[in-house]
């Protein structure tokens, strides 16, 4: 006979205001199997939990029902308390008489009756609860980091410094991401190369970090602690081990006029190239679309001039399987492009700005490349069209961001700051140049951010015009920007030499495909969704996968780095134990009853059901039955609902428990 303890909580007066807790406790005491039923003002408080533990030992309770808030709130708290008192945590259930009862029904009579029903239902359920021993799975103490920008680099270094092996996968030929493209960084104007290159070198030289560049994630299988990730290492056509990085091949390559994506296509590169001088690894890559050797079979100069003979045109993509226990996703962002959008894409381009066809209308990143000392113009700010120095630049804010009709309604957070920085860089390099900034409002909330923004106005003479730009068009060699100045209430027309657009921050191209491979969720803009917006910002709902940086939402470098270290800390906690404890809510097969129709295997989205052979002592095969791998099973229970004879059972949600609840109503 089970001895059930029922503990009804007042929750201050959240419950007792509309539910007569005394009557509920009294009613519970009359239910068969209930050994004791009391009520207390704050069950989740320390005295409340001590009351619970004392009752378990004194009354020799076998099951506990706590009638209080939603199990999503304190189930873990009470199960820990019950475990503290020596009872298996899964013999404790919560009756939700707050969110589902006291808060939503004013009539005291109705609310109390409903609370009694809910408690009665949960009492019947707990009678059928079985002891569920914790399930532990081995943890592979290696972490995968996807994305080699500052977020990926920081996370990889933190995890590796903690002594765990890291596999860092980067899609571009070199790590560094968008930060490497920046010139100086706000709010301190220190140059991004100086603060980032040492970290990049640390990554390359770190004994614990395996670096795959020019590589992508092909397939992700397995679960927390036991992922098998297939990495596609795309053919660089250069042997990484033998290449010394001398760069002779790049100087001799006849193909000189290929727009360099790293320089936002205003700088040029050769067919065999390294994206930027401080690239890590410093091994060049052959761009097979534009290399004459691959297009027509002629040339091959790079191979001829290569001393160590590292150039290898026959190199093929290789697939490498890495076993890892945790995954940090740090795939970063891309800037919104104002060019015409393909049909059907919800995001519309900017016809009023010429769909990006006017050469001197550039985005923020291109301005960074112009201003960067290692950029194509060696730091001189010049017009991409004719190379002349612009005397008047118009900066336009919120291009795509905060523009619902353009398909993006969020604020991209970093543009106000980097535009202020751009006006400063421009003023330092072109003393008689005049910067105008069309903006709605300046969002500069960070530490010493607003002071930085004020400086661009007060000391660097940038003219801020509060208003939006309706149109701009090319007139001769000038760009006529037609906007409005709502502070003064007039139409404004500026003939500018160059226009810089602060375009919106978006997730990387293909972010949704990677999410589908990882099985993590993402929002309508393809930003990855965190488990809880406030309390678990660097974890995914899918266990074992963590997020860092702009792939989760627009953010600046300080926030990105802190998220990267936070994600690394989460990985380290995961690796701190040899075996990983898992919720024992997993399915088990009653092999005696299973007839091997494998309907369960067909509906299991996790591939947790395997085929198991039953053999007699002589080894001849008697029959094949289903068997569930407790590590892989996520506990959804679809298999049990599909199995005609209910031979597969989900612990914690067995048919007995559910039918007991239905029959109690």
């Amino acid at each position: 006979m089970s001895r059930i303890g029922v503990f009804v909580c007042h929750c201050g007066e959240n419950i007792s205001r509309t539910v007569d807790v005394e009557r509920v406790a009294a009613h519970a005491a009359t239910l068969p199997g209930v050994a004791c039923a009391t009520e207390y003002k704050y069950m989740c408080s320390d005295p409340g939990q001590t009351l619970l533990k004392k009752a378990i030992s004194e009354q020799r309770l076998t099951h506990v029902v706590v009638a209080a808030c939603s199990p999503r709130m304190h189930e873990r708290t009470f199960r820990k308390a019950v475990e503290g008192a020596g009872l298996n945590p899964y013999l404790c259930e919560m009756a939700n008489i707050r969110e589902h009862c006291s808060w939503v029904h004013e009539d005291r009579e109705e609310a109390t009756a409903k609370a009694c029903d809910i408690v009665g239902m949960m009492v019947e359920r707990t009678k059928k609860n079985r002891v569920l021993p914790a399930i532990t799975v081995p943890v592979t103490k290696r972490s995968l980091v996807i994305g080699g920008g500052i977020a990926g680099i920081q996370a990889a270094l933190d995890i590796a410094d903690a002594g765990h092996e890291v596999v860092l996968v980067e899609r571009e030929p070199s790590i560094g991401g968008h930060m490497a493209q920046l010139s100086e960084t706000f709010p301190t104007l220190d140059c991004s190369q100086c603060i980032m290159t040492p970290k990049m070198v640390d990554v390359a030289n770190h004994p614990k970090i395996t670096l795959y560049t020019y590589s992508e994630i092909e397939l992700v299988e397995g679960y927390i602690g036991n992922f098998q990730v297939t990495v596609r290492k795309r053919a660089r056509s250069v042997n990484e081990r033998t290449c010394t990085g001398c760069g002779v091949c790049m100087t001799k390559c006849p193909q000189k006029k290929i727009p360099n994506k790293f320089d936002q296509n205003i700088g040029m590169r050769t067919a065999i190239y390294v994206p930027f001088p401080q690239a890590v690894p410093n091994t060049p890559v052959i761009d097979r679309e534009n290399c004459t050797k691959f297009k027509t079979g002629k040339c091959g100069v790079c191979q001829k001039v290569c001393g160590p003979g590292a150039v290898d045109f026959e190199q093929q993509d290789t697939l490498i399987v890495e076993a890892v226990g945790a995954i940090v996703v740090a795939t970063g962002f891309d800037l919104y492009s104002i060019s015409e959008k393909p049909k059907g894409s919800p995001i519309k381009g900017y016809g009023e700005f010429g769909h990006g066809k006017i050469p001197d209308v550039i985005d923020g990143m291109t301005f960074e490349r112009l201003a960067s000392a290692s950029g194509p113009t060696g730091g001189k700010i010049v017009r991409p069209s004719d190379g002349r120095e612009p005397k008047q630049i118009v900066f336009i804010q919120c291009i795509g961001s905060r523009a619902r009709e353009k398909g993006i309604s969020y604020c991209s957070k970093v543009c106000c700051m980097y535009t202020a920085k751009h006006t400063m860089l421009y003023h330092h390099k072109v003393h008689d140049g005049q910067a105008y900034v069309f903006f709605m409002d300046a969002r500069t909330p960070g530490k010493s951010y607003d002071e930085f923004w004020r400086r661009s106005i007060e000391e660097e003479e940038a003219v801020y015009i509060r208003g939006m730009v309706s149109r701009l068009y090319q007139k001769g060699d000038k760009i006529v920007v037609m906007g409005s100045d709502i502070a003064v209430g007039v139409q404004v027309e500026i003939e500018a030499d160059m226009v810089v657009l602060a375009t919106a921050v978006q997730p990387q191209q293909g972010a949704d495909l990677l999410a589908q491979k990882l099985g993590i969720s993402y929002d309508k803009y393809n930003f990855y969704s965190e488990a809880h917006a406030k309390l678990r910002p660097v974890e995914c709902a899918t266990a074992g996968i963590f997020l860092a940086g702009a792939c989760q939402g627009p953010k600046d470098i300080p926030e990105t780095v802190s998220q990267a270290s936070a994600a690394a800390a989460k990985v380290m906690t995961l690796f701190s134990k040899d075996r990983l404890e898992r919720e024992p809510i997993v399915a088990r097969v009653r092999e005696a009853g299973c007839v091997g129709c494998f309907a369960c295997k067909k509906v299991c989205a996790y591939g947790a059901v395997e085929e198991k052979e039953i053999r007699d002592r002589q080894g001849n095969l008697l029959r094949v039955v289903a068997s569930v791998n407790p590590g892989v099973c996520a506990g959804c229970g679809t298999c049990q609902a599909t199995c005609p004879s209910k031979c597969v059972e989900l612990d914690g949600y067995t048919d007995e428990q559910i039918v007991a609840m239905i029959e109690a109503l």
Binding site: Y350, G351, E405, Y473, V480
Partner: protein, 295 residues
């Protein structure tokens, strides 16, 4: 789609086509006859109220257009509209009354008759480019306008506001270029295709019109256009009638003939000048057409 079937439309000319823009009405009728497209004028249609009505009293403007839409229902075929302003008002009324139930009941009370509002309203450009189709239009060409460089001028009403006329992309339309290129002309890329010409300020504040229209003429000339093509009698009025005066004010010379789209297409289809009302234009277009061997 009404592919091979002969197209037929109800026709709402609008007041200016029976007055100052008579040549737009004449060239439309002649062109549709030449292209074997049926056109029957809506019996006792009346003014759509244009800009003045909806500035004075919205219910008046909505009721005028709603009544015209009801009258058009009686005539077979979608409603063809030539003037950009009438097109904008009719479309705006249909859009507002479908979206807004309270305004709809007010208008129905004013007209004391229920409204259907499901008839399609189409600008001539829509009919030529999509219903008839560019291939059949090109096939009907007898004198291709080769060598004629045309600046297509949409004005501010044809594509705005978003999601109401739905004629073409709001910021970067191409339907006019498609139509005129289908009949052999060359079009120029210029900056003021969608800029306002000042419209009916031409009566109350002519100074504004002179300034705005000059910017348009200047941009067209700079782009190397021979002439400007419009789809609205009011824009035609400003660009054509005031061109001489603007040339005086800015002491420059444009000499840019301003055609209605139906006139230019009419020339390409081989209609003679009398059927297109080309003589009624202030800036004489005949020397230009002769120089291109089109007349």
């Amino acid at each position: 789609m009404t592919s091979e079937k002969t197209l037929t439309y109800a026709y709402y000319p609008g007041c200016s086509l029976h007055a100052s823009a008579g040549e737009y009405d004449l060239s439309t009728r002649e062109l549709f006859k030449a292209l074997e497209i049926g056109l029957t004028e809506v019996p006792d249609w009346f003014c759509c109220g244009a800009t003045p009505a909806h500035n004075v009293d919205e219910l008046l403007s909505l009721s005028l257009c709603a009544k015209n839409l009801e009258l058009a229902e009686a005539v077979e075929g979608d409603l063809a509209v030539a003037c950009a302003s009438c097109f904008s008002r009719l479309k705006f009324t249909q859009h507002t009354l479908v979206e807004n139930a309270t305004k709809r009941t007010q208008v129905e009370k004013a007209l004391d008759a229920p409204l259907k509002l499901d008839g399609k309203v189409k600008h001539l450009l829509d009919i030529l480019a999509r219903d008839l189709g560019l291939e059949r239009l090109a096939a009907a060409v007898k004198k291709p306008l080769t060598g004629l460089k045309v600046a297509c001028y949409y004005g501010c009403l044809l594509t705005r506001p978003t999601d109401v006329p739905n004629l073409d992309c709001v910021e970067a339309p191409t339907i006019m270029e498609q139509v005129i290129e289908a009949v052999g002309a060359e079009t120029v890329a210029w900056t003021h295709r969608l800029e306002c010409c000042g419209a009916n300020f031409t009566l109350s504040r002519p100074g504004v019109v002179i300034q705005l229209t000059n910017a348009i003429l200047e941009a067209a000339k700079a782009a190397g256009a021979d002439c400007i093509m419009v789809g609205c009698p009011l824009c035609h009025g400003n660009l054509d009638i005031r061109q001489k005066e603007i040339e005086g004010v800015y002491s420059t010379s444009y000499n840019l003939p301003v055609f209605y789209l139906t006139q230019l297409v009419g020339v390409a289809v081989g209609l003679e000048s009398a059927k297109l009302g080309l003589e009624a234009m202030i800036v004489n277009p005949l020397p230009l057409l002769k120089s291109k061997g089109l007349l």
